[in-house]
């Protein structure tokens, strides 16, 4: 890491801080978005991340890379925000005010075909739910690896573990996702077959 740049950051140099924010803003916002699934919440949480970085910069010793440090804070803050959101949702449900999740459509633009857009959105929701049900470390690893395309070494530094351990986490996460999704689709097929037996080739008279 450039010592001069680090010294400028530590001394509160605005231009250096601006450069830091501009370099890491996109990935930070998107990491927050992967966990929170709401654009406004993601941008707000990313601002909190950089606010914390700004406060802590004078004491930053440069033992880890700046990016790693930022993404670690982004991950922790997003999961905290998600926990708060879930708690609020439970409280709203108890009070009967029925707080809505207001999650943003996660699927990519499926072109002009509304059927395809709907299908992709449904798939994205299913994937999100399956990822959310994974254990915390697997969930972080698979989110950073698969959505953000981060390397195992980078994720290892964020999680404070080795690249090999990250590979194992991602592998287990993917296996878990396959199992969960297969179960959901299996159940769905079974229900469809039971609902419309006459439509199936062998389900005749």
């Amino acid at each position: 890491m450039d010592q001069n740049y680090l010294n400028r950051l530590r001394s509160g140099d605005e231009a250096a801080f601006r450069a830091l924010v501009e370099e890491h803003q996109n990935r930070t916002v998107n990491i927050c978005f992967r966990f929170l699934r709401n654009e406004e919440d993601a941008r707000d949480t990313a601002q909190e991340v950089f606010l914390e970085i700004y406060r802590a910069l004078p004491g930053f010793r440069g033992e880890s890379e700046l990016g790693t440090w930022i993404y670690r804070i982004a991950t922790t803050k997003s999961l905290d925000a998600l926990r708060r959101r879930k708690r609020k949702k439970r409280l709203d449900a108890l009070r009967g005010t029925g707080g809505s999740d207001e999650l943003d459509g996660a699927a990519a633009d499926g072109g002009s075909d509304p059927g395809r857009v709907l299908e992709e959105r449904e798939r994205a929701d299913l994937l999100r739910e399956a990822v959310e049900s994974l254990p915390r470390s697997q969930r972080i690893a698979v989110t950073l690896a698969k959505y953000e395309g981060m390397s195992s070494a980078e994720i290892g530094r964020v999680l404070g573990t080795s690249a090999v351990a990250v590979d194992s986490l991602v592998y287990r996460a993917q296996a878990g996702l396959r199992r969960k999704l297969a179960k959901i689709y299996g159940r769905r097929l079974k229900n469809e077959a039971e609902v419309s037996p006459s439509e199936s080739p062998s389900g005749g008279v």
Partner: protein, 125 residues
């Protein structure tokens, strides 16, 4: 072993069902690659700077600070002390009155008992 295996749902042969599920799972997992990314917000840094400035700005003294510190708080303290003293005096006076009343009642009881004793004794004579 073959009989114990759970059969496919009506209408779908075993392989077809398995293949369908696998195809659906793969298509869903493909969502990792096609998931949308948020674009850069050109206002991000400006908004962040505003938040930093708002944090760094010293907190304004509360409205009516002088009046509150110099007059209202001491006055409230004095009122509280006076109220405490008045309450303590009132309680003491009430207790004293209660004790006096009880003493008077007992004296009257003893006197009436003594009078009854004397009357009873005169009958016996």
């Amino acid at each position: 072993m073959e009989e114990r295996r759970k059969g496919p749902p009506r209408g779908l042969p075993a392989m077809s069902r398995k293949e369908t599920i696998e195809r659906e799972v793969e298509a869903t997992l493909h969502g990792f690659e096609t998931d949308r990314r948020l674009a850069d917000d050109p206002e991000f840094y400006a908004a962040l700077r505003r938040r930093i400035r708002a944090e760094e700005r010293p907190a304004a003294p509360p409205a009516g600070g002088f009046f509150r510190r110099r007059i209202l708080v001491p006055a409230l303290l004095i009122v509280m002390v006076v109220l405490n003293i008045v309450t303590a005096l009132a309680v003491t006076r009430i207790r004293k009155t209660e004790i006096e009343t009880r003493e008077q009642g007992l004296t009257a009881l003893v006197q009436s008992y003594a009078a009854e004793q004397a009357e009873f004794a005169s009958y016996l004579k």
